[in-house]
Structures are given as C-alpha cells and as structure tokens.
Symmetry: C2
Subunit: 348 residues, 2 copies
C-alpha cells in the first residue's frame, strides 16, 4: 500500500458491473492510490469519472497490469482466462467476477460474510461467485451456522441487468413496442450467444446461460456447485431453477431449505437474520412487508422475508431473498473481498 | 336439454374470465340454447356478442336463474356465496370459479382430466379450482398415476390477468410511465382490497391474495389444499410460494416433485405427458424449446418442459409448467366441467 492506497485496475470498466465497481470503490472509500479503467479495444478511449476526476479507459493488455496491486475483472470469461494470469504474473491479486476460475481447486470462491478465511489460500486469483449464489448463501449462512443445512431448493426471479447493458435496453425497448402495439424483434435474451431469442417484456424465460447435457442450464449448475464450495459442504443438496424476468435490477429467489437440527422456528430465523451482517430482515406479513426487487435496487444489503415453516416438514422453511445483482451480486462483493484482503494482510 | 342445448347463465359476464367463458362456449360449440349474461348493477346494460348475436347484460339477482340449467359463476366470492345457492334452488347446476365453496365437503373440486368422476357426488355446486392449481395438477396427474406422488414444492410466476382487468390496465400503464421516466402510483396490485399497493411493472411481488395467520398467502394455501382435494390424497406434501409478475396472461410454475416408486426417468415422464390429454410437451433443451407464458396465451393446453432429474434425489424431478390462466386456469376448465356433466348424464 502506498500512502494513498493501492493501485487498482478495473477490467470491463464500461460494462454494467464495471460502472458499479468504480462507483462502489468511491462510495465505500476503498483506499485507491490510482485507478486504471481497462476495456476492449472497442471501448478504449471512453472517459469514466472517479472521485471527481476524469480518467480515460485504456485497452486491456498483459502489460496493463505492470504496477497494479488489485485487479477487478468483469469483462467475460474469455478475457479473464486470457488476462487474469498475466495480472497475477505481474504481482496483482485478481478478483474475478466471471465463472472462468470459480470451480478451480486453488481459487477461493468468496462471500466475505460466509467464508472470508478462504482468502488465505489464494494463489493470485480469487473468484467472485455468481450473483444468484451470493445473495442466497449470504442469507442462509446464519441459519446453517446455527442449525446446519441439509437441502436447498431454489427458484429464481432474475433481472436482465445480469445479462448486461444490451439486455436492459432490449427489455425497455420491447416493453414500449408491446405497449404501443408494435412488432418486436428479440435479439439478446435469454442468452445473446445462443441460437434463439425470445420476448422478455411481459414474460418469464426459464433459461439463463446455456443448457448443459443433463438438462440444467449453466446458471443453475453454477448456483448448485458454487453453493457447496462456498459453504464447504459437498453433501449439501442444492437444486436450482433459474428464470429471467422483465426486471431491470434486483434478483429475487424463492428458497426452500431443510435444516439438520431440531428446534428452529420462524422467530428464531428472524432473530438469526436480524443479527447477521449484510442482511436486512423485511418480514411482516400482516403489514405486507416483504422484499421487493424494485426496492432493493441500489442497496447494498440482502433482503429476506416471507419466512415461514413448511406445513409438512418440521425442519423445512421457505424464504424470499432479494438483492441488487449488480451490487451484492457482483461489484459490492468484489470490493468487499478487496477490504477483506486488506484486513487479512493479504494485499500488499 | 332442449333441442338446441342448455340454458346457460354467465355471472360476471363483463370480467376478464367472463369474456373468456363466453368465447370458450362459442369456440368449443358447447350446446347452448340460450345465453344469459349477468353482472353487477354497475355493468348491467352493457352488450356482449355470442355466436354473432348481441345480448344485453342483466343485473344478477336470485330470480335471474329461473329456467337456467347451467350457471357459470366468476364474479367474486361474495357474489357466489349469495347467488349460487339461489341458482341451485331454481334447478341450475353451478360451476363456480371463485374460492367460495372449493373446500366444502359436498362440493366437488374438479379438473376433468384428473377427477371427472367426482362430479357424480355434486349437490348443485361444483367448484372450479384456482388457476395456479389447475395447470399443476393437470400436468402432475399422469406422473402420479404411473408412479405415485409424495411431495410437491412449487414457486409460481403468475400473470396479472388473474387479478382482473384493472390489474392488466395498471401493469401496462405503469410500464409506460416507467419507460417514460414518469412517477407511478400503484393502486390495484398486489391485492386491490389490501392496505398497500406496490409497483408491478419491472418487478416481482411475492404476494397473491391476502396473508393468513401462518404467514402463507391465501393463494398459497389454495394451491396446497386444493391439490390434496383434487388428487384425493391428504398425505401428499404440498408447499407453494406464489409470486405476481408483470405478465399479462399465462402463469408459469417451477415445480419440484418426489414420486413414490422407483424406475422413473426423464424420458419416462416425457412419454407419460406426451400421451396425456390436454398436455403439450415442450421439452428440447438443446434447441431451447421450453414453455413460455407469451406463447401459451390464448392456447387451451397446459405446456410442460425443463423436465430434469434432481441431482441429489433419485425420485426427485423438476418441471416448468405453463398455461393460460384465463383458459385452462379458469374459463376453459369451467366449460370442460360442463361437457363432463353432459357426458356423465348429470346435466338435465
């Protein structure tokens, strides 16, 4: 650390998450000595604002990382594959927001509230989990700690900003066209690189990321595998169904859990969550208080409500978990990993 | 039956479901000798079209049902409570689309593909199940018949038309206001008669119908209780989370099931569903073929896809079930009950 802080690079500085990364570093007063915004050749030359200063975005190359101490990547898996090792080679610690390295054995996959200690085993690259995973494990960890966790069945209600700026534009444009009775021409969602594109406005698409051989989407498998890795429990049963909605920002999740031990009830869960870091309890059915994506947008916390006991399973509970997928689901968690690295003396 | 058919009354003729009832009677050539559209005092005097003829909507009173043989009710629970017994007293069979009588012991709750035979035990009133229940039991019955059914965990993605015409208007109006950067003023959803109203456009609201003491909404309890009644299995475990989306028409459901017997696999489920009445299989992940609300609107069938085995439970499977909530979820099922009554010789 210099007197002023660290030399930080943002890879994918002009994307939806990149913008939030820059804003979050500023907003949370991360100790930044210098900020280097990097992007593809196409976006290089654009200007970004950081702490009132205009900085020109540069094309990301291997050499960009000379002198960089912390590199936050969010420019797609192939960019991370190519450049994260180059950044590490030059002495930077990488916090990667893509799925490129998440399941690698020597890459810690970290949600600071859950498994901050895993950072100590890093070999240069640290992975930021998938957005839909982060908010779920953050909300479930306090319950797991108290009573153990046996099983999770989750159905998601995911916002389009998880698919990038083009997906947001498509959603609003399509909504307007449908309201005006015009023809629509889907070209981005559900997956820009996949064969078919479907209407997202006024619809619900049960596909996020591409399909795998076993009939699950990659998004679903990410939730299932990452949850086990973050929670250090390969015997944890996790099943996910991931669905894209016409919501700009804010993922919602309908989560069923079975805990291991007896003696948990709804007031007990409320108590655990109200004391947990990064969690806001919003659970007062009689006053219609529950988390909403529209209210979570722009907020740092994970919001939990609709907590109720399963009427058939004594150890089964249902929850509704909502968070800003660009913040806790991406940028905020990455910056929090940066703070944890400092706290643990790992960022030099 | 007269030479031309039956004397049929529609209660709630000007509502979202009422319009579909009239259209469905016509489209499926239900034998109608005369059609009597009934409504509240406020809507009386409006005109509806049936088989190319204009008919004036009349105010529904006890006396309206003189000479009526089949009365299809869809005007809210309190209207059914007040007038369904009057219709029965005058010799009509009532098919009620509200929740007023669904759990009454002497009222059959019927999805013809599942429990048509229950009609034989009617005492004048037959209940049409809740929209979200109908499509789920229609899709699961063939699996239950083959392998038994132990447990259902469902999270819904429900369209606003289930909350009536005002909810549809609110959704489109709000969407336009948000796209244009204007202020919004929610007044209908999630529940018009409840205390608070929330943004539905570009959002997901985890409340349908009012909250009960146990933290579940009435919609969730309807799905749970009605499913057991229709499937004749009080030991069946059913848990529901019901969520309202900015979709005009077409409910989607993420459904996890556990079957009782061994030996079921995904091809087996596909085979069962492809042979089932009223079901269309849409399940080809490699070509991104799965049910979509936008494609189900205006269709009679229940669409099923995303069928996959749970990776932890040998007898666990996941499905994505979609149907037009105004058709199979309401009007179509009511008219199908009418046809079943004729087939079983119960409508005289």
């Amino acid at each position: 650390m210099t007197q002023q802080g660290y030399h930080v690079a943002i890879v994918g500085a002009t994307g939806a998450v990149g913008e939030q990364l820059i804003d979050t570093l500023d907003r949370l007063d991360f100790p930044v000595a210098s900020l280097l915004p990097l992007s593809s050749k196409r976006s290089a030359g654009k200007k970004i604002m950081f702490k009132g200063e205009e900085i020109t975005v540069q094309e990301a190359t291997a050499e960009s990382f000379e002198g960089i101490q912390l590199a936050l990547f969010s420019a797609g898996g192939s960019i991370s594959q190519a450049l994260a090792p180059e950044a590490v080679k030059r002495g930077a610690i990488v916090v990667d927001n893509t799925s490129a390295f998440r399941m690698d054995e020597d890459v810690p996959l970290v949600v600071p509230e859950v498994n901050e200690e895993d950072l100590k085993n890093h070999s240069g690259i640290i992975a930021n989990p998938n957005c839909s995973t982060i908010q779920m494990v953050a909300a479930l960890e306090p319950i797991k700690k108290a009573k153990g966790l046996k099983k999770i069945i989750v159905s998601t209600y995911q916002a389009v900003s998880g698919a990038g700026v083009k997906a947001i534009d498509e959603m609003y444009e399509q909504s307007q066209q449908i309201v005006e009775g015009k023809e629509i021409n889907p070209q981005v969602l559900p997956v820009s690189g996949d064969k078919n594109h479907y209407q997202i406005a006024f619809n619900a698409i049960p596909q996020i990321d591409v399909f795998q051989e076993n009939g699950y989407t990659f998004e679903e498998l990410k939730m299932m595998n990452e949850t086990k890795k973050i929670m250090h429990d390969n015997s944890l049963k996790v099943a996910a169904t991931c669905v894209r909605l016409p919501v700009e920002t804010g993922h919602s999740e309908s989560v069923y859990i079975e805990v291991e031990q007896d003696g948990l009830d709804v007031p007990g869960i409320r108590q655990l969550l109200s004391e947990a870091p990064g969690i806001t309890l919003q659970d007062d059915p009689s006053n219609q208080v529950y988390p909403l994506a529209s209210a979570a947008k722009g907020k740092d916390d994970v919001f939990v409500g609709r907590i109720r006991r399963d009427l058939d399973e004594e150890k089964g509970f249902h929850l509704w978990i909502v968070a800003d997928n660009l913040l806790k689901g991406a940028a905020l968690n990455s910056v929090q990993i940066g703070f944890s690295l400092i706290k643990l003396g790992l960022l030099k």
